[in-house]
């Protein structure tokens, strides 16, 4: 009888890929190839840290929310995002164990700019309509990509996503309610949403990442598809986003700020003007409109509160 310990790395790899192909869930303590582990660490720590960094642009509107009910709604929404961050970082921490790393290291990687946060959270918010649009369309976009990973081969991530996606649906509804109120409001309020859409359009296209490596030199989509972490490509997601949201955007009387956008009946795809991928490359180098400000805020609050974490550690010890 050949025990797992006696198996060669090649055998283990074959067995692992069989499990992946059979749709089995891989758990934290299971053997996994280094490439799989590293792909997951990158994906999940980036996802987790993006939830946390993503709280910052919306948080700007929490104290300013324009009614008591909206204040309650957006506080709950931003809190959920922090909760998602917590959930995901715990999943990432388990994967990091063999390397002797923990959450502190993830934070340091963010501060050193080795770990990046999602490109959409580098953008500036200017009005209350941005807070609504983030909930409606950014969370809407996130639902599309995350729903695809609900069946991810890595069990702990798939389970975390079950809960996250359920909450994201509420977020999209929260955002849509803000947008609907503005759309039914005064001319000034309507103008706020159009301006927000114009401001966020390119960021929404970039949200899904480049269609292929040739655009920016690298994309993580190949390994994630090979290991059945996700099934669809960046472009598939972008097309799904158009399918779902273009009709809704138009029905609110808004104009998409891309005159070339149209559905090609013959090819069955949406044709659109490419966003500025040079700008995208800058954003993912943390050179976006608010990249450094948000990083500084996170760095600074982490350092400024170091005494609290030290004090808690002293109590535990």
């Amino acid at each position: 009888m050949t025990g797992v310990l006696a198996m060669t790395e090649e055998d283990q790899m074959d067995r692992f890929m069989e499990r992946i192909e059979a749709g089995e869930k891989i758990e934290a303590d299971d053997w996994m190839p280094e490439e799989y582990r590293i792909t997951l660490i990158k994906l999940i720590s980036m996802h987790g840290i993006s939830e946390i960094m993503g709280a910052l642009p919306e948080k700007e509107w929490v104290p300013k929310a324009p009614s008591l009910r909206r204040k309650l709604g957006i506080m709950a929404k931003v809190q959920d995002e922090m909760g998602h961050g917590q959930l995901l970082l715990r999943v990432a921490e388990d994967l990091l164990k063999p390397y002797g790393k923990n959450r502190g290291d993830i934070m340091q990687d963010l501060f050193n700019e080795d770990l990046k946060f999602h490109n959409v959270f580098h953008m500036e918010t200017k009005t209350w309509a941005d807070a609504g649009l983030i909930g409606w369309l950014v969370d809407g976009a996130a639902i599309i990509t995350q729903t695809d990973m609900l069946k991810a081969s890595y069990g702990p991530y798939a389970r975390a996503l079950q809960r996250i996606c359920a909450e994201e649906v509420f977020h999209a509804q929260h955002g849509e309610a803000i947008i609907m109120a503005l759309a039914e409001g005064t001319e000034e309020q309507k103008a706020l949403i159009q301006e927000a859409l114009n401001r966020w359009w390119e960021a929404l296209l970039m949200f899904f990442g480049p269609a292929s490596k040739s655009t920016t030199g690298s994309t993580k989509q190949d390994a994630t598809i090979k290991y059945k972490i996700r099934t669809k490509t960046n472009e598939d997601f972008r097309q799904m986003f158009f399918d779902r949201y273009i009709p809704r955007i138009l029905s609110l009387g808004l104009t998409v700020p891309d005159p070339t956008l149209h559905y090609d009946e013959a090819e069955k795809v949406w044709k659109y003007a490419q966003p500025d991928w040079t700008e995208f490359k800058k954003i993912i180098r943390n050179e976006g409109p608010r990249s450094q400000e948000r990083l500084n805020l996170r760095r600074h609050s982490y350092e400024h509160n170091a005494w609290v974490r030290d004090a808690l550690a002293a109590v535990v010890n």
Partner: protein, 270 residues
């Protein structure tokens, strides 16, 4: 003109209104300051937990403003967003900034101050809410019953922080002691009813100021005894009395922020 409306004398209604403004404004400002911490708490779990408390407090503010709306005083959002600083009845402690800097930039918020303010305020709220459960005004009794259930967890949370930070490193102890001093300087109007004292007390809306103070002291005394520190004295006379509309500049900046969007068009739906 009748002095009885909805079976309520005008004097009684005025007393209820005065008290509701004090309660509602306290909660709004406390929740506002707590919400500025969102995303910036010392660790992620705490961010989630204290955000929950901030939401509950905002929810309590909504309950009190709604009771004012029901009395025909004005719409809840107008009352929360549009009244100028000199008409606000919150205690000075609730309006104080969290530390140096604006929340939109890179603020230097003081976690020790947040813990002490939250712990002392929550215990004061508990003293009031317990008494409100016996109020002569039935809608307030109902609100207080609901609030009391959530308050249990808030007290537990802040008491844990208070005890832990005061039994830890020298740095933490020193920061906490400084925070206690700062918080107590502003505690003089916490249990004050201001110029409405007689009306509120005589109508049995809430127990007397002195009874509230005693209840607060009794609730924190065991924790202080365990930590071997003295229960701080509540200032006899407040340096400013928020219950009479006296406030610091901190309130003006808070109001400007929390009403910035609403003021664009208070008549519009948001």
């Amino acid at each position: 003109m009748s002095n009885v409306e909805n079976g309520m004398s005008k004097a009684y209604k005025n007393a209820v209104t005065a008290l509701l403004f004090q309660l509602a404004d306290d909660e709004l400002l406390y929740a506002f300051r707590a919400s500025e911490w969102l995303g910036l708490a010392p660790h992620i779990e705490e961010d989630v937990a204290s955000s929950s408390i901030a939401q509950d407090s905002m929810g309590h503010a909504v309950m009190y403003y709604k009771l004012l709306e029901d009395l025909g005083v004005g719409s809840e959002d107008d009352l929360a967003h549009l009244r100028p600083a000199n008409e606000r009845k919150n205690s000075i402690l609730t309006e104080r900034v969290n530390g140096e800097g604006y929340y939109m930039e890179t603020p230097q918020y003081d976690w020790a101050y947040h813990v002490v303010r939250s712990y002392f305020y929550t215990q004061a709220k508990k003293a009031k809410v317990d008494s409100l459960c016996q109020s002569s005004y039935e809608p307030l009794v109902e609100a207080a019953m609901k609030i009391r259930m959530e308050l249990y967890y808030h007290r537990l949370h802040w008491e844990t922080w208070f005890k832990q930070l005061l039994s830890s490193t020298d740095v933490a102890k020193e920061k906490m002691q400084q925070a206690i001093e700062l918080v107590m300087e502003d505690f003089g109007d916490m249990f004050s009813f201001g110029k409405d004292k007689q009306a509120i007390e005589e109508n049995n809306l809430l127990c007397q100021e002195e009874a509230l103070k005693a209840s607060w002291k009794a609730s924190i005394a065991p924790v202080f005894a365990k930590l071997q520190i003295e229960v701080p004295e509540i200032p006899e006379t407040p340096h400013l009395n928020g219950r009479n509309g006296e406030h610091t500049k901190d309130l003006e900046s808070a109001l400007a922020t929390l009403s910035e969007v609403y003021r664009i068009d208070p008549a519009a739906g948001w």
